[in-house]
């Protein structure tokens, strides 16, 4: 997760919010990145670098599309993924959707 871009909150009323991401949102982002970066198909990409991380705040954290991630791949198609919280860990490579479980007692309020 080194060199990770700022996790931006996309406000449903328009534009990006100035509110910082909560620890739980950051935890989700880290967990989803870990799943993606452990995948063999991802590891076959040449020097992918995380360039964008956005929370679509209009969606619940369990909604597909809640977290948007983008990895730039020099000279190739950037890879977009969407992460959300679910019961079991799963990466659907074709759709780019990643589901990760987070503990229910994980922090939900930013400090």
């Amino acid at each position: 997760m080194s060199g990770v871009p700022e996790l931006k909150i996309i406000d449903p009323s328009g534009g990006s919010s100035d509110s910082p991401a909560t620890p739980r949102q950051q935890q989700l982002c880290a967990a989803v990145c870990a799943v993606i970066e452990a995948d063999e198909r991802f590891r076959a990409l040449h020097q992918p670098a995380l360039s964008r991380a956005e929370i679509n705040a209009g969606l619940p954290e369990t909604g597909p599309g809640y977290l948007y991630l983008r990895y730039d791949v020099p000279g190739a198609v950037p890879q977009e993924f969407w992460g959300h919280v679910g019961k079991t860990q799963k990466l659907a490579w074709k759709s780019g959707q990643v589901c990760v479980p987070l503990p229910a007692d994980a922090p939900t309020i930013g400090t």
Partner: protein, 282 residues
């Protein structure tokens, strides 16, 4: 004869559907919600046949959220699509900032018309006639104006509309005002109301007050260290001071109006803004 009831039912259903279409659906996206977002500008990537199929699809849940954000709570089959403002074939991304509901049913402008522009820009950019950043900027700024510039007159003789929040005037065209001067007319679209429009309001007949913005990057080499605002009206981090359309500059710290101010120009600090002739908040 037994087919007549079926035909009548079908006709009734079709008529009902046509009557239910929202013909006042937005023709242009709300630039606050959909400023446009680029995935790549690399022709070596975008111009490869099959490129758009290599880009993933937007999750349906996110599409539904985009509809809700635009206030569309019900829709007919085939009425809308969630459109990429900067289309995939022009290197647009799947970020929510690049997505908006576009109607197929509004007349004379609709998603099919924008598709023509997208194809034309793709052809021009892949042919080396324009750059992908220029194509992306043109379609994100105002696709109707871009259509006129790159394709020709809009269908039905419609004049391109202009959104009040649209950063339509390149920063180099914003005049430097003397202290205490009033609204810079060049930077204020004459036909634009002061408030942001209802995103549902179709405004195809609003006359454009300015031609499409030139896209020569050399235009940005301006004096006074003036920096162009971002498409959403914010300023870049290295030039955070916002100048509003009324010629007042707003500082990021201690100014309660800063966040809601849509910049027409940005400066690194207050002194630069003052040197350019703008005044601070009283």
């Amino acid at each position: 004869m037994k087919f007549w009831p079926l035909l009548l039912t079908l006709a009734g259903a079709l008529g009902g559907a046509a009557g239910a279409y929202n013909l006042q659906a937005p023709i242009l996206p709300d630039p606050r919600m959909t400023p446009g977002d680029s995935l790549t500008t690399d022709p070596a990537v975008i111009c490869v046949p099959g490129y758009t199929k290599s880009v993933r699809n937007v999750p349906q849940a996110l599409k539904e959220q985009i509809y809700r954000e635009y206030g569309i709570t019900s829709r007919e089959s085939g009425e809308y699509e969630i459109d990429h403002l900067i289309s995939l074939e022009l290197g647009g991304s799947n970020s929510a900032r690049n997505l908006w509901p576009e109607s197929f049913q509004t007349q004379p402008l609709n998603a099919h018309v924008k598709d023509v522009l997208e194809n034309k820009l793709h052809e021009l950019a892949c042919g080396g006639k324009i750059t992908f950043p220029a194509a992306q900027q043109a379609i994100a700024q105002n696709w109707e104006e871009a259509y006129v510039k790159y394709v020709g007159p809009l269908p039905g003789g419609v004049t391109p509309a202009r959104m009040p929040a649209q950063p339509s005037i390149p920063v180099t065209h914003v005049p430097s005002l003397p202290r205490g001067a009033s609204v810079p007319q060049v930077a204020t679209p004459a036909a634009a109301p002061a408030a942001l429009p209802d995103p549902h309001q179709k405004t195809p007949t609003t006359p454009a007050s300015e031609p499409p913005a030139p896209e020569d990057p050399s235009d940005n080499g301006d004096a006074n260290e003036k920096v162009a605002p971002n498409p959403d009206g914010s300023c870049p981090a290295d030039a955070p001071v916002k100048v509003s359309r009324s010629g007042i500059y707003h500082l990021p710290q201690g100014d309660t109006n800063y966040r809601q101010t849509r910049a027409v120009a940005c400066y690194a600090d207050a002194q630069d803004a003052q040197n350019a002739g703008y005044r601070g908040v009283k």
